[in-house]
Amino acid sequence: MTEDISASFSLTQLSHKLKTGELSSEQLVTHCLNRIDKYDQPVNAFITVTGEQALSEAKQADRRRRQGDPRPLLGIPIAHKDLFCTQGTLTSCGSRMLANFVAPYDATVVNRCRAAGLISLGKTNMDEFAMGCSNETSFFGPVNNPWDMARTAGGSSGGSAAAVAADLVPVATASDTGGSIRLPAAFCGRTGFKPTYGRISRYGMVAFASSLDQAGVIAREVEDIAQMLNCLVGHDKRDSTSSRMPWTDPLPLMQKGCQKMRIGIPVALLDRLDGDCRKSFETAVAVLQELDAELVDIELPHAHYGVAIYHVIAPAEASANLSRYDGVRYGHRCDSPKDLEDLYIRSRTEGFGFEVKRRILTGTYVLSAGYADAYYRRAQSIRRLIRDDFEKAFDRVQLVATPTTIGPAFKKGEKLQDPVAMYQQDAFTVLANLAGLPCISTPAPPVAGLPYGLHLQARPFDEISLLQAGHALQQHTQWHRQTPETAT
């Protein structure tokens, strides 16, 4: 019976089964907790599991369901990336700095999930402060890819992606600053979605780079994503940058598919792909073409600066965002400091890992007097050019397609000594953050037996086109339905 549950791990199916009474929330949550017990030790997707609380919430959800509560997501389990503040439980951000931090409030994302009736099973592992794309910078150890435990699950939302890939939970929240939802989703063979900047409130989501950070979701299917967006999207008065754009329920519009959609392909960017990856990408977009989409070559003249300017802007903002971790009010504090300076230096030296320190230093440098013009302000100018590139492209096309990553999941440790090679992993994904675009990663044909992702981007607030195209692709392919052997 439990394998039955896993085989139908889409929100639509689970929701249907809960509604008909074929399955109770208690059974479903128990099933997930059992799987976490059995499979999470090798995967290391979770930092905190809140099983007892989840079970009691599940019983309550079942009662409510029987009393006629119609909320479609009522009683469905979810996991939250460990940078969404959860009242009363640990929110560590994958860092020693916050390894003792219990927030006195819930993030808006967590609140909205609860309001929709979703049940949190716990908090997922991540790169420290979301800085990384291999989940190897976590203070709680790397997340291993369920498809091949020697490989990285990707990052920074590696825990969320691996938890969904190993069917430990049907859906997980995640965040994306330069690719942190899409890259691990691609590496783990699941669907990852980052909405337009401002669509989902950042309140209570621990900041990495505020102008790039966006909350999103990793799940099995595009339909799951659409259901989650219905629950998460909306203006929040506690986040000044959250958007007031109206949101239309995409579910009734999903069947429209990608007919007559013009999809742009920035061919110049694909030069760096090796043969297998290119073939996977071409196979995936060929399916869209068969479904009556039109493929168009486009240019994004400044796209190749993306990674470079991302690694100026993101650390600059991070250097300020992480200044609050000073050992004074909360978080890690060194033992018996001699004086104030010693308190600062040792608390931060001990509390932060290597990659976080590197980015704080980079960010401090690019904002310093005498360097800010050459780095920070120039990067901001190029960011505007990239945004303009996309605006121009979207005059001609509805979507822009690339692969999600330059290759499938790499081996752990492989790129740790070479940060520039590591940073290049985000080459296709950073652009959407810089331009504030909505985007999706959905599985393409596997490369060398490992999952690989197709990456689609749309103009700001046009989430619906992404969902329609992604759904059409998934209706006609099976790549997103595969489950790693290690988890069966």
Binding site: L83, F84, C85, T91, C93, L98, F101, A103, P104, Y105, A107, R202, Y203, G204, M205, V206, A207, A209, S210, S211, K237, R238, D239, S240, T241, A316, E317, S319, A320, L322, S323, R324, D326, V328, R329, Y330, L340, Y344, T364, L367, S368, A369, A372, Y376
Partner: protein
């Protein structure tokens, strides 16, 4: 050599908003430490600032009052530095495009002199570190963290300590006038940093400047500047160089002392705060605020002089703050005697309030009561001497209205001519000897008769009428 000091002021005003500039926490002074600080003020992970519109409106009020340029788009920046009472490790402040651009403040003394204001920007206040001697432990109170501050920066166009105080007072008055702040310096809701340099009288280039931080009284500004100007001149005359630094004023020793060296400028790594979108200033806001601006002190003072006939001194005194001017308006309107109203407010009332340690706002003497008192003097019910006794009764709270006090003290002035005539007749009859002396030329004896009658009436006889009547009846025969 002759030296010229050059001074610029940076005045920090805590704006009188209900809640903090980026959070909903309250802003009252004097609460228990850390009881007015929420998750946002504590800089907890994941929290975000949301701009308080009231702070914007108050800052714009100042901008429009000094006729400043107001940008169409307002940006907030992060100013990065570490300090234990700065919870986020950066202060949200402004750099480019501050909410109030260049403007000017008239001195309002009729001389037409103006001080150029360079800019005024909004920022959040920091918390307070308390270094009590507690076995090496410092305490932090974050109640103040996030209170909105308007930092007003003048051009360095002030050339003496006295002038600096004059302008500081002027800005203080304007801030009170506009209702921007209670501006109580003892509670540091208004404080001043001064920048001062000294140069040879004929040199155009400015000397190296010293900043003196956190001066929270007019007196300290003057004393600190006097000391510092002197020190710099002595330094230069001895051939030493002034090193740019920040100093603090020690009022006990009456001297400034170095705080931290600014040999290499601190690098605050300003950049636009990505948590706050640029704020577009709406035309309606500007219009609404312009409509709601009170007449400014100099305009009000002018009209007191030209249409009410007050002296410039009196008019300026009354216009120092809105409360006094509003109080005066009520008293003058009700009593129909602006000059007497001004005299009472500046004289007896100011004196009594000072003695009682209260202000106009919490004085026992209402504008209504003072107006009544003036009316009773003018209709000769009270002599000025009696009026002072009635006034004392009001001040001490023994009576709540003038008429009640008059009754209670049995203070009505005797002005009825028939009654007075009868009194005079009786007195003259009782002292025939003195009457004879008066009539034979000893007119000084008039005072004797007045004294007799005043004694008999407990001082309530109307002296003017009494004098006239006495003369008439003594001269009759």
């Amino acid at each position: 050599m002759k030296w010229q000091p050059v001074i610029g002021l940076e005045i920090h005003v805590q704006l009188a908003t209900q809640s903090k500039i980026f959070s909903g926490a309250a802003t009252q002074f004097g609460a228990m430490p850390n009881t007015q600080a929420c998750a946002i003020d504590l800089g907890l992970p994941g929290t975000l600032p949301v701009l308080n519109e009231q702070a914007i409106m108050l800052a714009l009020r100042f901008g429009l009052a000094i006729d400043a340029e107001i940008p169409s788009k307002i940006l907030f920046y992060r100013k990065n530095y570490f300090y234990p009472d700065l919870p986020k490790g950066y202060q949200i402040s402004q750099l480019d495009s501050p909410i109030v651009g260049a403007g000017r403040i008239p001195l309002g003394d009729g001389s037409g002199r103006q001080l150029a204001i360079e800019r005024a920007h909004l920022e959040e206040d920091a918390g307070k570190s308390l270094h009590r001697d507690m076995e090496g432990i410092s305490e932090i109170d974050l109640n103040r963290a996030g209170i909105p501050l308007l930092e007003i920066v003048t051009r360095p166009e002030i050339y003496s300590a006295e002038e600096a105080v004059l302008w500081f007072r002027r800005i203080h008055a304007l801030v009170c006038y506009l209702g921007l702040s209670d501006a109580v310096m003892a509670e540091s809701s208004m404080r001043c940093d001064v920048n001062v340099s000294v140069r040879p009288a004929k040199q155009a280039r400015l000397g190296e400047r010293i900043e003196i931080k956190n001066l929270n009284s007019f007196r300290f500004v003057e004393q600190a500047l006097d000391f510092e100007i002197d020190r710099q001149i002595r330094c230069l005359e001895e051939g030493r160089k002034i090193v740019r630094e920040t100093r603090l004023y020690d009022p006990n020793e009456r001297q400034t002392l170095p705080m931290r060296s600014k040999e290499y400028a601190e690098d605050y790594r300003y950049f636009p705060d990505p948590d706050l979108l640029p704020l577009i200033v709406k035309d309606e806001w500007i219009e609404d605020i312009r409509q709601s601006l009170p007449p400014l002190p100099e305009q009000r003072s002018q009209s007191y002089q030209s249409s009410l006939g007050l002296s410039r001194e009196a008019a300026d005194y009354l216009c120092v703050d809105c409360t006094t001017a509003d109080y005066f308006d009520s008293v003058a309107t009700l009593s129909k005697d602006p000059v007497a109203s001004a005299n009472w407010i500046m004289g007896e009332l100011a004196f009594a309030n000072k003695a009682a340690g209260c202000t106009l706002a919490d004085s026992r003497v209402s504008a209504d009561a003072l107006a009544d008192l003036i009316r009773r003097i003018n209709d000769t019910t009270l002599s000025s001497k009696m009026a002072k006794i009635v006034f004392a009764a009001l001040c001490e709270g023994r009576s709540s209205s003038v008429d009640e006090a008059i009754d209670a003290l049995d203070m009505k002035q005797l002005s009825d001519e028939d009654e007075l005539a009868e009194l005079v007749t009786r007195t003259l009859d009782a002292h025939p000897h003195q009457v004879g002396q008066y009539r034979s030329g000893k007119t000084k004896l008039l005072g004797f008769f007045v004294g007799q009658i005043m004694q008999a009436t407990h001082g309530q006889a109307n002296p003017k009428k009494l004098n006239t009547l006495l003369r008439k009846m003594l001269d009759k025969a």
